[in-house]
Amino acid sequence: MLDEILQAAIIINILAATIRISTPLLLGAMGELVAEHSGVMNMGLEGMMMFGVFTVWLVTFVGGTTTIGILGAMLVGALLGLLLAFLVIYLKVDQTVAGLSINILAIGFNEFYVRMANASNIPVQIELLPNMNIPLLSGVPIIGEIFFQQRFLTYLAFILVPVIAWFLGRTKFGLSIRSAGENPRAVDTRGISVNRVRLIATVFGGIMAGLGGAFLMSVTSRYLPEMTAGRGWLAIIIVIAGNWKPVRMVIATFLFAFLQALQVTLTTFEIAVPYEVLLVMPYVLALVALALARVRSAQPAKLGVPYSRE
């Protein structure tokens, strides 16, 4: 009897963790989706997330609150999106190279700040983002514990999925973004600047990435190296594996998040599977998912191609 209660508690714990861990993946992936629909592949997503992580830490370090840190991370994400847009849209630098540079830039800063954090004698305590229980719903047994006792950013991430799907499919500007990635000339003939549309979409992707990174830092009190641990890359993979379709992307997100939730939850128990095996599973799954994701029917036709009039 007691055993069963314990088991149920563990399962609920894992599922609630799945929802929580989905947050940064989903934020990053939805931002990436918008950028890619406009024709810009943001390969610097991982790096932008790293920037989000240490922006929150840095803001706390100089005496700010977590909320200011999160806003700061969004701002930094926007600036990085602007940098990426400047490089790939106006200077027409290869998108992979530009994204790569942002990642390396981030790795550099991240290394510096992590070591600075370790070297400083005053430990920085980051004020954790509080749980926001949804009235009524959070009281429902099991379902409430899994879905409705999460943080604000988690709700935001999930609400943004239908909102972005609607925005891309049903609004005028959303259609301009998608045309910029499918048939930029058509956008141009309508008198809309392709480059400006792409710029806005890329900056939006940057903001979402910054937010995703900020979430990671605002649910853990200590700044550790490798906090992003490839989540930015997983977000890119989620877009591909989800074939650029929001609903499928959510399913892919759950899959990755579930594996990570297993790792987080199960390592506190004595189990036969080594910790590292649990740790590595999402990456292996990602490789397999990519190998199997041969349907890329919804990939924007002009993804990665800079636009010029001649």
Partner: protein, 362 residues
């Protein structure tokens, strides 16, 4: 918008004189140092003092010069690994993982063959093991691309995580690689008969440096003079045409990824058997990523890679002296490296454009 009003426009420039290129690269590096200096000042240090200390620490006396060359060695390898892949527009960023894979296979072979082989043969096995370990990991990414069309950039990142996690697994258990004499995640010290020979008395510079320089010259020659190098460059400049010319693109990708991975793996065996003399989680101080910067600053030229590696090796080596003399943390070098890359990228991109008057305006 503004330019149009002034009757100016931006045009693409086809050929840039190499002298201008060199000047722009140097200006880019100077700009990067300027920004880094500002960053040091922001974190409460004195930039001039810091850079002077880095220079003294890197070149102050002969032994420090040898140490600088020692730090340059893994960068030459990972830089070359990047050059050969990027020349074909294969965007591999798996150098870090391949470095560890090379270190791991070399160490495995060392454990098997150490009791039965003499020093020269053992060294040969270890060096080849490094190449093979990195090469096979590179080949895996190449195969995934050829067989399943998995983007190299993503697969190599994932493989980096997978390999380093595997090493973590081996190093944290006494059953596997964790040393008997240690509680840290590292192996026992490697027996001296497998250490890379030292080039100069009393310095740590090992034979890996000479191998690295040899490889740089070889890669230069291969790219320039062999049919393989020709195909590789052709694929880099026009992948579609390459396909029509009857070149087996898939095979080319796999071979290139094998060689690229092998070069990165050499850095791994060099660090384990030449510098650390054990395997641990810090065998690479981000050499895989720095190698990418090295290659891009070198404009993907294998011979220039040697010089740029020495430049970055000097910063890494000099940062130790800087840390003890000024109290600024050594990890500032990562920030400097990142700024150098960004500055080079922007100056390169700007180089290919020029502002001129609109020919027939109105």
């Amino acid at each position: 918008m503004m330019l149009k009003a002034l009757r100016l426009e931006i045009v693409k420039v086809r050929d840039v004189h190499w002298g201008i290129q060199v000047i722009l690269v140097i200006l880019g590096i100077l700009a990067a140092f300027f920004v880094s200096g500002w960053f040091i000042a922001l974190s409460g240090g004195n930039p001039a003092e810091a850079f002077a200390a880095i220079f003294r620490g890197a070149f102050g006396e002969p032994r420090k010069v040898y140490d600088t060359l020692m730090r340059a060695t893994p960068l030459i390898f990972t830089g070359l690994a990047t050059v050969i892949a990027f020349r074909a527009k294969i965007w591999s960023i798996g150098q870090e993982g391949q470095l560890y894979a090379g270190a791991m296979l070399a160490y495995t072979l060392y454990r098997i063959f150490q009791p039965m082989l003499d020093r020269p043969l053992l060294l040969l096995v270890v060096v080849l093991g490094g190449f093979l370990g990195g090469g096979l990991l590179g080949l895996l990414a190449g195969w995934l691309k050829a067989r399943f069309n998995v983007d190299i950039i993503i697969s190599t990142v994932l493989l980096n995580y997978i390999v380093t996690t595997m090493l973590l697994f081996l190093l944290y258990d006494h059953k596997y690689w964790m040393g008997a004499e240690t509680y840290y995640p590292r192996t026992d010290t490697i027996t001296k008969d497998a250490w890379f020979p030292i080039i100069f008395e009393d310095a740590r510079l090992h034979m890996g440096f000479l191998i690295a320089v040899g490889f740089a010259i070889t890669v230069y020659w291969v790219l320039k003079r062999t049919p393989y190098g020709y195909d590789l460059r052709a694929m880099g400049s026009n992948p579609v045409a390459t396909m029509f010319k009857g070149i087996d693109v898939n095979k080319l990708i796999m071979v290139t990824m094998f060689i690229s991975g092998g070069l990165a793996g050499m850095a791994g065996s060099g660090e384990v058997f030449g510098v650390h003399h054990n395997v641990n989680m810090a065998v690479s101080a981000g050499y895989g990523y720095t190698g990418i910067i090295v290659a891009m600053v070198s404009e993907l030229n294998p011979l220039v890679v040697i010089l740029v590696s020495i430049f970055f090796g000097a910063i890494i080596n000099g940062s130790v002296v800087m840390a003890t003399q000024t109290g600024i943390h050594t990890s500032i070098i990562f920030v400097i490296q990142a700024f150098v890359l960004l500055a080079i990228l922007i100056s390169r991109a700007l180089m290919s454009y020029r502002i001129r008057r609109v020919p027939h305006a109105g």
